[in-house]
Subunit: 464 residues, 2 copies
């Protein structure tokens, strides 16, 4: 697509995903179709978290000022971005209340009440909530919002640093699997010190590349060590009868997961949805000809019942408009499979199948339709993942250098490469490159350190 | 139970439903067990709404001051209860933003953009969100909150008043079915003029009675007529080519649904949960004796797999504590069915079943266990509904009077009856009684007008 930004805005509107016309900057409305994509997407994440023993909870939105300010680094990272509630009715409040920018402070305040001895640990909880950032940068729907409508944040507490380390690994595996399910390719980098989460020991982040070649962070995992537990006095009695502070991790995924599904898989015709998050997986379109309407409707209904019973999300489009318009509508909305039912196919005991991801159209014997569809939905999912991976590979470039080359020249090469190829540039790791001032030289961000095909690289790119 | 209020607080804590110790008045935390009850409960409501063509959406939390103030009656009803955001970061905002107390104004602002002609109607949408009221009254967990954590609000728009009337009827039927599913008995009253929703034509409300004899509103349905549509200029082109404003309804259910499940069904031992919202429907407790552990564990696991596969939410309690303590724990948490597995029962090819709702304990042949459990879960649901209905019937008293009796004497009788019997008093309808000043005379609220066994009554009671 030529102009990604334009395409993206248009598709949000036309596919009825998210309405940006709300009268507050950075706030919008999830429309029914978009809401369903969101629901199926976060249901996958919920399942993955629950399978690994996480339990869902729900914390208040409001955080008293003194509680949010308790951890020094943390508040520094957020103080310019917090929305403050100062009045209740017509009266000023005694203490200002923040709209949560994230929930470390309220959750760890409560953990203090729940943790006494080692047997109370580990705690592994998550919530899916709205969070708020007073963004001064340019906002973008589902990418940079003032009301992040969907923030899945998980928080854990453990008896040892080793356990916390393992939890970080588990979180990374869960997120890998989540993005794998969505067919979204990721590069996982350990963020540099100067770009870690405020209050964390270190941060591991998931990035992907959008069709305009810009890098976007779509998930983060933080090892908090004992930074917060000391502040919030999360002390527990150890197995040996001593005292220690708990070791903590937290990890989050936002509406950007939805933005990525749209951006990564879409094409000129519109959305292409992975079948597991598609609100409609199969659209059936009856092709009506005079005198043959009844047999077509009859066949349509039979197919519908058959697929419905097999658990497929199926819909019949029986609107009184031309089939061509129907085709366009559902292609725009990214429905993975279309079935056309016409009198001639009925005679020949076949149905016509159209695949949104490849554009292929073919016939299948009507007795084989059910197996074909179930099989096809899997195939589409796999093919979409493969295609997306190929696309991102074209956006990954290695810039090599000899050890004795001056840093300015490395920077120059990286900058040129970024200009030409966009996406992510991988630079073999060295201390002299891995410095904050290198970012200025290349006019891009250091994403961090990653392993790529067994080698250690510095990842850089221009980010959202 | 002797002291309902105490019992209620204790059960929220002990059954780990909702933690009130959050440092803001009227705000608390849904704990994992409570969150699951909430999820299953609102999943029922979601299903019922979707079956009737409602679509789920998600609107922003924040409402600009001028938008909230647009409908005069509406803002008057809420202005003393609104939390205001006045600052972003360290800067004052140009316009104050309200935390939604309810979402008529933001939703109807957007409807203006969606509605052009009759073909755009009806619109039937809902969302499940947090809403805020700066309550100055005494707050109570899940009953009167400053952050209402769960508010299901539905909003509809129609081409005629008749359609809106029918929508009100549909909403009432949906809510009836919802509370029926939860086994919560309700009295449905049309609220008096002076107590209708701010901006509505009329309000129909669902009330139930808590064990302390106080009445609580647990659902409302409003016919808004054209009040909001005129304010928000929701004009559409009619089928005949003319212009009209849409006719609207809205209806809501909150966390009070969860409070009601707890309050209505619980007993001295703790919660009793309807099987359809119980996080654990069947708890299996192995009774271990030396030398017989393996066969008991083996049987336990087999039962678990069998029930799990049949879709039952089942759990094994294999903690290393006395069975008696386990029994208490799960009775407290309201698990509908307990299965005990001991060596003697295994020899006799039976299992022991305990029903939480009746306290009955009995044996079942192990080959019949699956049918028995599925059947039992249905039976429990029905029995709980029946019992709850009987309980509320004891809280409904008719106070009759002759037409020529002075109003003061009627008031006196009603007041006495309320004092003695509590709950809801039904007074045969008459204009002289159905006046706002009657409330002072009886020191209770007029709930409205209801039909009870074919007759028209005024309903009164002391409310939460």
């Amino acid at each position: 697509m030529e102009n990604f930004s334009e395409w993206y805005s248009e598709i949000l509107e036309k596919a009825e995903i998210y309405d940006v016309r709300y009268p507050i900057k950075g706030c919008g409305v999830y429309l029914p179709y978009g809401f369903k994509i969101r629901r199926y997407t976060f249901d996958i994440l919920r399942r993955l978290l629950e399978e690994k023993g996480h339990e869902e909870v729900l914390f208040p939105l409001l955080i008293p000022e003194d509680l949010l300010a308790k951890e020094g680094e943390h508040i520094k990272g957020f103080e310019n971005e917090v929305f403050w509630v100062t009045h209740g009715g017509k009266k000023p409040l005694e203490i200002k209340l923040a709209l949560r920018p994230t929930s470390e402070t309220p959750i760890y305040y409560m953990m203090k009440l729940w943790i006494k001895v080692h047997k109370d640990l580990p705690i592994k909880i998550f919530q899916i909530v709205n969070t708020f950032r007073y963004e001064t940068k340019h906002t973008r729907p589902l990418i940079r919002l003032r009301e992040i409508m969907t923030f899945k944040e998980a928080h854990t507490a453990h008896t040892t640093m080793e356990e916390a380390e393992n939890q970080v690994k588990e979180a990374i595996e869960i997120y890998r699997e989540f993005f794998n399910e969505l067919g979204i390719p990721v590069i996982v980098s350990r963020r540099p010190e100067w770009d870690k989460f405020p209050g964390a020991e270190y941060t591991v982040a998931f990035d992907t590349v959008f069709p305009d070649g810009r890098v976007i962070q779509i998930g983060t995992v933080h090892n908090l060590g004992q930074n917060f537990s000391r502040t919030f006095d999360l002390e527990f009695e150890t197995l040996e009868g001593g005292k220690d502070y708990v070791y903590q991790t937290c990890y989050g995924i936002s509406d950007r997961a939805i933005a990525s599904i749209i951006a990564i898989h879409g094409d000129e015709k519109g959305l292409i949805l992975p079948p597991n998050v598609a609100p409609i997986q199969v659209i059936i379109i009856p092709l009506l000809f005079k005198g043959k309407k009844e047999i077509v409707y009859d066949k349509t209904r039979k197919l519908y019942s058959l697929l419905k019973e097999a658990g497929v999300r199926v819909k019949i489009d029986d609107r009184d408009i031309r089939p061509g318009r129907k085709f366009n509508d559902w292609e725009l909305r990214g429905v993975p499979v279309r079935i056309e039912v016409g009198p001639k196919d009925i005679e020949n005991k076949v149905v016509t199948i159209y695949r949104r991801d490849t554009g292929e159209k073919y016939h299948v014997g009507e007795d084989k339709i059910m197996d074909e569809i179930l099989d096809l939905l899997e195939k589409i999912k796999d093919n979409m993942r493969k295609k997306a991976k190929e696309k991102i590979e074209r956006y990954i470039t290695i810039v090599d250098y000899n050890a004795d080359i001056p840093i300015e020249e490395i920077a120059c090469r990286v900058k040129e490469t970024l200009k030409e190829k966009k996406g992510i540039v991988l630079i073999p790791y060295s201390e002299k490159v891995y410095r904050e001032d290198f970012e200025e030289k290349i006019e891009a961000s250091i994403l961090g350190i990653t392993e790529y095909r067994g080698e250690k690289y510095i990842t850089v790119g221009r980010t959202y």
